[in-house]
């Protein structure tokens, strides 16, 4: 206890210890070392290939149950599961998650759901046994980012997911706005006759079913304020005649028109083919000629004939 240490010697030791500590700290950040290696060109970019089993089958499971807490936003336990690259870097425990034996990720997913250490934690949506089995299968072949679906013939086929496009209700509301009031007025006059084609559409369908015997060319005129948004006219068995053809021709969105059992004749029927969006025309068989059939065929508009009248 009598020999004193020189400041120089002391700080040499301190510097040494600091460096050891720094090295240990950097080693605990595998992403740093990998980034450096890649920048220096010492390593190829660490990532799963596009057609890898990981990307098609494993990543979606992590995405569904884990990334809420394990991604760039929030790397709980310093673990990210939002890509193969980050999966490889592991978390605070620095366990190699690609090795199937004693795999920390599997262990924590296998725990009973109420266990203190269970992943996902209790209360969160939990993976199914088959999803867990799929991860086990993938890890049993080395947790690779390159093996493809073909390398896992024993994996059950991927369930088809039908995805609906998100519905933009505000846009629909906006599209409807221009004719909403007109539609409402006419609906009041003719209840149960006019309605939107779908909950997501601003186009209008007319079903004359409840008013067939009152539906004349004059009634069609009353619908004309809605001409730009009318898409289907179901006028079967009404009193509509050739005089309404001109009005139909002002309906750019008309796709389906049912004129069977009406007073429409063969004389002006082909004029309907001028309608850009027309898809289907339904008429009585009796008024059809070969010429009309040929004309419709040529424009690729479906012509349906109904035995009536």
């Amino acid at each position: 206890m009598t020999k004193t240490i020189s400041p120089k010697g002391y700080f040499l030791v301190v510097t040494g210890l600091s460096i050891v500590w720094l090295v240990l700290y950097i080693q605990a950040q595998p992403s740093w070392t990998q980034n450096i290696k890649e920048t220096l060109g010492l390593s190829a970019p660490l990532q799963a290939t596009d057609d890898s089993f990981y990307n098609s089958r494993i990543d979606p499971i992590f995405e569904k149950y884990c990334t809420a807490c394990h991604d760039g936003n929030k790397d709980k336990g310093q673990l990210r599961l939002d890509s193969y690259r980050h999966f490889t870097f592991s978390g605070r425990s620095e366990a190699d998650l690609r090795v199937a034996d004693n795999n920390l990720l599997l262990e924590r997913m296998r725990l009973p759901e109420t266990d203190r250490l269970a992943m996902p934690p209790f209360g969160r949506e939990r993976h199914t046994e088959s999803e867990l089995a799929l991860i086990e299968l993938w890890l049993s072949k080395g947790g690779s980012g390159e093996l493809t679906e073909d390398d896992f013939p024993e994996a059950p086929a991927k369930a088809k997911v039908i995805k609906f496009a998100d519905i933009d209700w505000q846009k629909i509301e906006k599209d409807r706005a221009a004719y909403a009031k007109t539609l409402k007025d006419i609906q009041q006059r003719y209840p149960h006759v006019l309605h939107y084609q779908a909950r997501t559409s601003n186009l209008v369908v007319i079903e004359s079913f409840s008013i067939t015997q009152q539906l004349t060319d004059k009634t069609v005129s009353e619908f004309m304020p809605l001409a730009p948004v009318l898409t289907e006219l179901h006028f079967a068995n009404s009193l509509v005649s050739d005089n309404s053809i001109d009005k139909f021709l002002t309906m750019p969105n008309l796709t389906v028109i049912n004129l069977s059992g009406t007073q429409i004749t063969s004389s002006r029927l082909v004029e309907l083919l001028d309608l850009e969006n027309l898809q289907t025309v339904i008429v009585s068989k009796s008024i059809l000629t070969d010429e009309i059939r040929a004309a419709f065929k040529q424009r690729d508009v479906r012509l349906v004939s109904v035995n009536k009248g």
Binding site: I5, S6, P7, Y10, V14, W21, K74, K76, P121, G123
Partner: protein, 216 residues
């Protein structure tokens, strides 16, 4: 040679309780024992509040007025001290005084961010309801980062203390345990020691505040 009392017992107790509880806070969170982590945290709140108050009303060597000096003179002291040209013997030296202040701020931030943190597993700090979830999440991250900063500062603290112990042959560790130092002569100014009753009262108030936060 004279044996002189430098540190009062409240300050010494505070120091070692701080050490134990910081280790406990680290150990508990490392083992995912969040309830115990919170207890360690609230104990630290009581300790830190006590120490700040003691810095105003406590014994001479514990007071901020005794160890906060102009930053420039603190730097000058640091340089001279490294060259072994000065030796401060009573209480915190000018550079060390500033280290105490920085430590208190960093620990203070750790405690406040902890009170506002959450662990996404159903636990949230006592005051976290006063901020949005997003803010709480952010502060949780900062709580983790600030801990690294705290560890770095503790390292600097240890390097400085052992510089005294090993190079300057002044055993600060022993002094912080016993409260006494052997000096060649009596200090030029009189060291005043605050009463135990005062220490206990101030601590009870601090502990009360911490407990009030702990029990909803």
């Amino acid at each position: 040679m004279k044996k002189i009392k430098i540190w009062d017992s409240p300050t010494r107790l505070f120091h070692w309780a701080l050490v134990i509880n910081i280790i406990a806070a680290w150990y508990t969170i490392e083992n995912r024992l969040i309830e115990l982590h919170e207890i360690a945290g609230h104990t630290l709140i009581a300790l830190l509040v006590f120490r700040v108050c003691w810095g105003f009303v406590g014994s001479t060597t514990a007071r901020f007025s005794h160890f906060i000096t102009h930053p420039i003179s603190a730097l000058q002291y640091l340089v001279k001290s490294l060259k072994l040209k000065v030796h401060h013997k009573i209480g915190h030296n000018p550079a060390g005084g500033w280290m105490i202040v920085i430590m208190m701020l960093v620990i203070g931030f750790q405690l406040i961010s902890g009170l506002l943190a959450n662990n996404d597993l159903g636990f949230s700090g006592a005051l976290s309801d006063y901020v949005s979830k997003a803010t709480s999440d952010r502060l949780t991250q900062l709580h983790g980062l600030n801990f690294d900063l705290l560890v770095a500062i503790i390292w600097v603290h240890l390097v400085a203390v052992f510089f005294y112990v090993l190079v300057k042959r002044d055993n600060l560790v022993k002094a912080m345990i016993t409260g006494f130092k052997i000096l060649e002569r009596q200090p030029a100014f009189r060291l005043r020691f605050a009463s135990m009753y005062l220490a206990v009262s101030v601590f009870l108030l601090s502990a009360g505040l911490s407990a009030y936060l702990y029990y909803p």
